[in-house]
């Protein structure tokens, strides 16, 4: 029962991804080229009625057509088109024509005439629309041909007067995609243009349809205009008025498109002057547009509201006083007329305004005011963000928050003003919005200094139960400037409260205090005696060094002390001792201090350990030194390798920036060393039975090299094709070694033959994969093998093994070139800590959830690659694949895994420890060859483009330290 239950648990919570082995599409030679069109022709002739014909066409459309036969097919289709009476069949043919003209390598100019011809004779509106769509495709395929373009545009203009909206839509689209600014159209071919007289350009034709009766056509017209803009044709300023009128359209899609249009124009002509209706004043166009778009933030449709709110964020040229109105709900119209109406504004202020609703009866009627001066709603911009931020839909709120952030980043004064609103958003009911506003506040925090009351509100969020929110807030506090020492104290208190309430936030809180201290040394200084509870006369008891709160205080003080030399004078003796301790144990949080006490200069030697450049130099030199080893059997080579490996490892520890590179080199060299050791032995010349032991070590070495190469390939990011080739090269060597050992130990020819064949395949695939890299592999093992390839593939296994052995022993060390940046994927399990002595008790057969919190660095695609392994003391192990939503991305190249794994086991008598670790799964089919491009390909794409994976090796690399968890499955009571 228990086992069954457990099985079910794993079934439900772990996901096994099986990559289906798709068969590579068999590529047959198509000898019967014309047959495709011929078959179609026959089919179409056979079709007795339109339904049949339609079926044939649908069937036909499923298969691709080769470039050569496209034209033939098109002819047949057209021929059939003229004969066909049924609309749906003609429609399908028209759409097929469009599809076919998209075929790569086919130039559709030969069918332009036919298409236009069919267009002229067509009666059905739907088919017309489809034909125009086809023309659009043809037009976009032929960007270089102005005559075709001109003809198509004329065609479109002609059909603009169609009564069916679809046709007008397509015509507008065509005009938008193909129309040119510089060629005025001579429109005398139909009534519409003629009545308005002679030469008109494309924009005025399109803008005529801004007033179309059908909203879909209006939308299409605006979209066409936007398309023109995208094609870098400058839109006329006259359009602005028309676009503004469309902002009050009845239909949301029109309004939404109009918002975009107005925005485009405001970016094109920001400094133009437009008049304010019903007054004789004028303002900048961008300001006017800003006002109008702000207006749309209180639109009836939330789609439009989102659009408007987003758009506002990118209107950076707007004048500051307009910008500030967006945060004010009060009467704003007079601001616009400020230049002329100062006195009136003053009068207005004293005579009577709306009340704020905060105090009772402050709206008691006063003397009647001159209503002429108060113009409430039309002054669009006012309060746009206030509205946006308290919108019903969180999508709008998020858009508004983002827009605020963009605007605030470009204007310090606005940043100051929007602070209160952002802080208010911390209380939003949707967590996403809260999180977003915290992030935004962090982004603009360079502009602002928090006042005490604002800080108070900000810090109140520290008690939020959501970890994401708290961590975002810590991040925010890291970047915040505060104004007074009280603020520091307040922040410290709240952070300690937070620490007390949520002990898991420890690291995050410490980090936060580190930045707080180093940013505000002068504000911390007066607080030091209080913080360290020192007393001028009395000795105070020494605080507990393991108290996280005390450590937090020390972190704050030490970081402040770094740039405040007078501070250490205030420390008591034990503080210095604690400093030394923390400097060692939490060196990333505690900076080196120049401490005067005891004549001891506590400045750490480590901080002077030199710059990255020198370390880089050292690394390069070590590699160069290694490259002097020409022959694997050279004396002293092993020692040199050994020392270099040791040096590199140490370098990696010291210089975190180069840790990846150093580690990578060290591992690579270790592979070389292993190989060298395995080959160097004299015993190769002995008879097999005599050196059994030797064989064992060599086999182990080969195995280890293989493992290491997988690590090299998949654990490090930033590898270039060249390094991957090198790695594959050494893997090939290891495989050769394995082959030789098999040949020596095992008797029987059959297994040997098959493994020989496999090896040959490996060589081939290596050659195929790294053709570009082969020149760099001169004189290497592979190079030599490839020379001998003809001989190898024909000779007998035994002979082949001999050749291999010889080549292997003769081949030199392949020099490693370092790429720009190498990072090693690392993972740290933060939780469980493995310190707990209390076993996790649960009833057998049931499950217990174990919270896992880990940070991953430099892991590409962690959603697919990272797995959790649970190892039970009886050797059982389970691999759990976390849900994609368990991964968060707090920063570039950093991921955070917060998940739960479910444990279950049969009853134990004693509590015992299980091990939890993270695994990095790899499969050599999705090889990191040309890593950046290949990994970005979609699932289905990569299957198609990569060669079918032969002998894909799948495996996992443990890349975190295992953590022990004490568990105790109790037997179930009955």
């Amino acid at each position: 029962m228990a086992a069954h239950l457990k099985k079910r648990v794993y079934e439900e919570f772990s996901r096994v991804v099986q990559i289906p082995q798709e068969e590579a599409p068999a590529k047959k030679l198509r000898l019967s080229k014309p047959s495709k069109s011929a078959a179609l022709h026959i089919d179409l002739c056979k079709a007795t009625n339109s339904t049949d014909a339609l079926q044939y066409l649908l069937h036909f459309a499923r298969k691709p057509v080769e470039v050569e036969s496209v034209e033939g097919v098109v002819r047949i289709l057209l021929e059939h088109y003229y004969k066909e009476t049924d609309n749906s069949v003609r429609l399908k043919i028209a759409s097929l024509l469009g599809l076919l003209s998209k075929t790569q390598g086919f130039s559709p100019d030969c069918i332009v005439d036919d298409a236009i011809n069919t267009l002229n004779n067509e009666k059905s509106h739907q088919v017309l629309a489809q034909l125009l769509d086809t023309l659009l495709v043809i037009g976009t395929q032929l960007p270089e041909s102005p005559t075709v373009r001109q003809r198509l545009i004329e065609m479109a203009c002609k059909h603009l007067s169609d009564t069916y909206f679809g046709v007008r839509n397509k015509c507008l689209k065509l005009l938008g995609c193909l129309g040119m600014a510089d060629t005025p159209l001579n429109k005398d071919n139909d009534g519409l243009g003629a009545s308005l007289g002679g030469v008109r350009d494309i924009q005025s034709i399109i803008s005529d349809f801004f007033g179309d009766q059908d909203p879909r056509v209006r939308t299409a017209a605006i979209k066409a205009m936007l398309q023109l803009h995208e094609r870098r044709i400058k839109i006329h300023e006259i359009i602005y008025d028309q676009a503004c009128r469309l902002l009050s359209d009845d239909y949301e899609q029109v309004r939404s498109a109009a918002v975009q249009m107005v925005w485009v124009l405001s970016q094109l002509y920001p400094e133009s002057i437009v008049p304010i209706p019903s007054s004789n004043e004028e303002i900048r166009l961008v300001d006017d547009a800003f006002g109008k778009i702000s207006h749309m933030v209180s639109d009836g449709s939330w789609m439009v509201r989102v659009q408007a709110a987003k758009t506002l964020g990118s209107m950076l040229q707007v004048s500051p006083h307009f910008l500030e109105q967006t945060l004010d709900k009060k009467l704003m119209s007079d601001l616009r007329r400020k230049r002329t109406a100062h006195e009136r504004a003053k009068e207005l202020f004293t005579s009577g305004e709306f009340s704020s609703g905060r105090k009772w009866a402050d709206d008691a009627p006063k003397e009647k005011l001159d209503t002429n001066t108060v113009n409430l709603i039309a002054s669009g911009a006012c309060g746009a963000f206030v509205h946006g931020l308290e919108d019903e839909m969180f999508e709008v709120r998020i858009a508004a928050v983002e827009a605020l952030s963009q605007l605030a980043q470009s204007s310090a004064s606005f940043a100051e003003k929007c602070l209160d609103f952002l802080v208010d958003m911390f209380n939003d009911e949707i967590e996403e919005v809260r999180l977003q506003s915290i992030h935004v506040l962090r982004e603009i925090s360079t502009h602002i200094t928090l006042r005490e009351d604002q800080l108070d509100t900000v810090l109140a969020v520290l008690e939020d139960s959501s970890r994401d929110i708290r961590e975002a807030l810590h991040e925010l506090i890291c970047y915040t400037n505060v104004s007074t020492k009280d603020c520091i104290q307040l922040a410290l208190l709240e952070l300690l409260k937070n620490l007390n309430k949520y002990p898991t936030d420890r690291n995050s809180v410490w980090k936060c205090l580190k930045f707080l201290g180093s940013r505000h040394p002068t504000l911390v200084l007066p607080l030091v005696p209080e913080l360290l509870s020192t007393h001028p006369y009395f000795d105070t008891p020494e605080p507990d060094m393991d108290d996280p709160a005390y450590i937090a205080v020390l972190v704050l003080v030490f970081n402040a002390a770094k740039s405040c030399p007078t501070m250490p004078a205030l420390f008591s003796d034990h503080t210095f001792r604690h400093y030394a301790y923390l400097r060692d144990s939490l060196s990333h949080l505690v900076p080196p201090l120049r401490l005067p006490g005891n004549g001891l200069d506590l400045v750490d030697s480590r901080c002077g350990s030199g710059s990255v450049e020198s370390a880089q130099l050292f690394l390069q030199e070590s590699l160069n030194r290694v490259s002097t080893i020409q022959n694997l059997e050279a004396p002293g080579a092993q020692d040199l390798l050994n020392f270099t490996i040791r040096d590199l490892r140490r370098l990696g520890e010291l210089q975190t920036e180069l840790a990846g590179a150093a580690d990578f080199c060290a591992t690579y060299l270790r592979c070389q060393l292993l190989l060298m050791k395995a080959l160097q032995e004299k015993l190769w010349n002995m008879a097999v039975p005599l050196c059994l032991k030797q064989n064992v070590t060599a086999t182990a070495a080969a195995q280890q090299i293989l493992e290491e190469t997988y690590k090299l390939e998949f654990l490090y990011s930033g590898l270039e094709s060249r390094q991957v080739a090198t790695i594959h090269h050494i893997r090939l060597q290891a495989k050769a070694l394995q082959l030789i050992l098999t040949a020596r130990t095992r008797q029987g020819l059959d297994p040997l033959i098959s493994s020989c064949e496999k090896f040959l395949q490996d060589i081939e695939s290596f050659q195929r994969l790294f053709v570009a890299e082969l020149p760099h592999l001169q004189d290497s093992f592979v190079d030599k093998l490839l020379e001998l390839m003809p001989r190898l593939s024909s000779c007998k296994p035994v002979e082949m093994v001999k050749i291999l052995l010889a080549t292997l022993r003769l081949s030199g060390l392949l020099q490693l070139r370092l790429p720009e940046q190498i990072h090693r994927a690392t993972a740290t399990i933060i939780e469980p800590t493995g310190e707990s002595d209390n076993p996790l008790r649960f009833t057998t057969g049931l499950v217990v959830a174990l919270d896992i919190d880990a940070t991953l660095e430099h892991v590409q695609d962690p959603q697919n690659a990272v797995k959790v392994q649970v190892l039970y003391p009886d050797g059982q192990s389970h691999v759990i694949h976390p849900k994609p939503s368990d991964f968060r991305k707090p920063g570039p190249d950093r991921h955070r895994l917060i998940t739960q794994v479910y444990l279950s086991h049969t009853a134990w008598t004693e509590p015992s420890q299980i091990e939890v670790r993270l695994l990095l799964a790899y499969s050599s089919s999705s090889t990191s060859l040309s890593s950046s491009s290949a990994s970005k390909l979609g699932w289905s794409d990569s299957i198609d483009s990569l060669p079918p994976p032969e002998a894909a090796v799948e495996g996992t690399i443990p890349f975190s330290k295992p953590v022990k968890v004490y568990i105790m499955p109790k037997p179930a009571r009955r």
Binding site: G300, S356, R358, D363, L376, I377, A378, V386, L389
Partner: protein
Amino acid sequence: MPEIKVTPLGAGQDVGRSCILVSIGGKNIMLDCGMHMGYNDDRRFPDFSYITQNGRLTEFLDCVIISHFHLDHCGALPFMSEMVGYDGPIYMTHPTKAICPILLEDFRKITVDKKGETNFFTSQMIKDCMKKVVPLNLHQTVQVDDELEIKAYYAGHVLGAAMVQIKVGSESVVYTGDYNMTPDRHLGAAWIDKCRPDILISESTYATTIRDSKRCRERDFLKKVHESIERGGKVLIPVFALGRAQELCILLETFWERMNLKAPIYFSTGLTEKANHYYKLFITWTNQKIRKTFVQRNMFEFKHIKAFDRSYADNPGPMVVFATPGMLHAGQSLQIFKKWAGNEKNMVIMPGYCVQGTIGHKILNGQRKLEMEGRSTLDVKLQVEYMSFSAHADAKGIMQLIRMAEPRNMLLVHGEAVKMEFLKGKIEQEFSIDCHMPANGETATVTTNPSVPVDISLNLLKREMALGGPLPDPKRPRTMHGTLIMKENSLKLVSSEQALKELGLNEHQLRFTCRVQLQDPHSDPDTLNRIYTHLKSVLKGYTIQHLPDGTVMVESIVIKVSSSAEDTSTKVLLLSWSYQDEDLGSFLSTLLKKGLPSGLC
């Protein structure tokens, strides 16, 4: 011209007992039927004798629509339907229908059982009344009869509050009831499409207020409560059982959860639990957040809020109590208020509007000594705070709604006269539409200009299309020839031939003839010939025939020549044309009057 008449029986320049009569297109509709909080006598209910002096209301009203369940909008409903007498349909939304009887029952209990009034409606009457209710869904068009249709829109304010569009033919009225344009913790914002009604009847409780952002208010509220609790004081929040109470509960509940506070929160019991149940049920009527999260946890299942018992009021230590009613005019909230008023540590937060005459109104206006029944006085020492949490639209919200609906006329109700005056001025200036604000019993009349739909025959339309330009331009009116037939209440525009056929009439030809004297010395046939050539040169593109019988035909116009009896050089031309060729005929006559050019042979 057709007219729409609006007469408020209650809520005209006043808050309370909303009851508005609308006559539109021959239909009479009653919008809301509420009671007044401030009175305990006959003024409590609307004056139904305005409709009819004696007898039942059924024959005078086509339907009654209730916008939401607040008593000032539905309190008089059983009185009207059962005691005065009305049997027609009563429309309200589903949540309103569910919650309304609970409140009515509560109201009845207080008035009858506590105050001992007689001649009041009974429980049975409430039940009978609710049987007449027809439930409405949002955006569902309900056909009351053949001509009258109503449609409900979401109004925010309280659960189930609706704005109603009433439509007869092309005339329409929108009644907002109470509405809220800013969403809150549990409800969304009011929304209406661009329905362009003839009249928009809007509440105007906060006609002169533009409120601070919602979040500011929430923060202030939480801060005040939190501070008071930390001081060890007790906080009284008088609320009406439903509506704001739920919003504040959610607010405090989440705050308590986030801040991990321990002080108890109580909610005076009774109808609340039943009503809370409905809040849990009608999730579709709540805001985005609750709708999205109710699967995990229904926000109305409170963890920290417990039922209140009267004895708890004397418990030591801090606590927060929500008590009804909201204006401190009676009931539990007043009792607790009396108990706590003497301690300056305590606090009362008035979250909404208070009607004049209630204790709430008095203390908000700063009165520190209250006269209670029995000539005793009460010293008010506790802090009095006001937080505008009423979910009514503020001035800006009202303006926003007007912009959304684009009405042709505006009518303000449910507000104080002076404030309305202010808003009226704004509306008239801003939107340049008429704005009315009738007092109770006063009728506002709006003449409408309804468009009259006319069926046009397809043939005629096609013929016009063929004649005119390629596309009909919706922006420009166009003239066309046709015959309008009015038959059995329907209007039809057909071509004249068809009209003749349908009506069985003969076509009458109308011909104009005119004589033109012409000085021409030639003989008659020669003159005719000259005229023929002349016309030929002038009128190109017309068919001109010289017929053998001595006439010239230009299209259908006949020209004959005869010499006058006295003077042979004076020729008399006889022109005759039909009515259809009026243009050409008059052109020809003026042309010929000028005489023939001399150069003709």
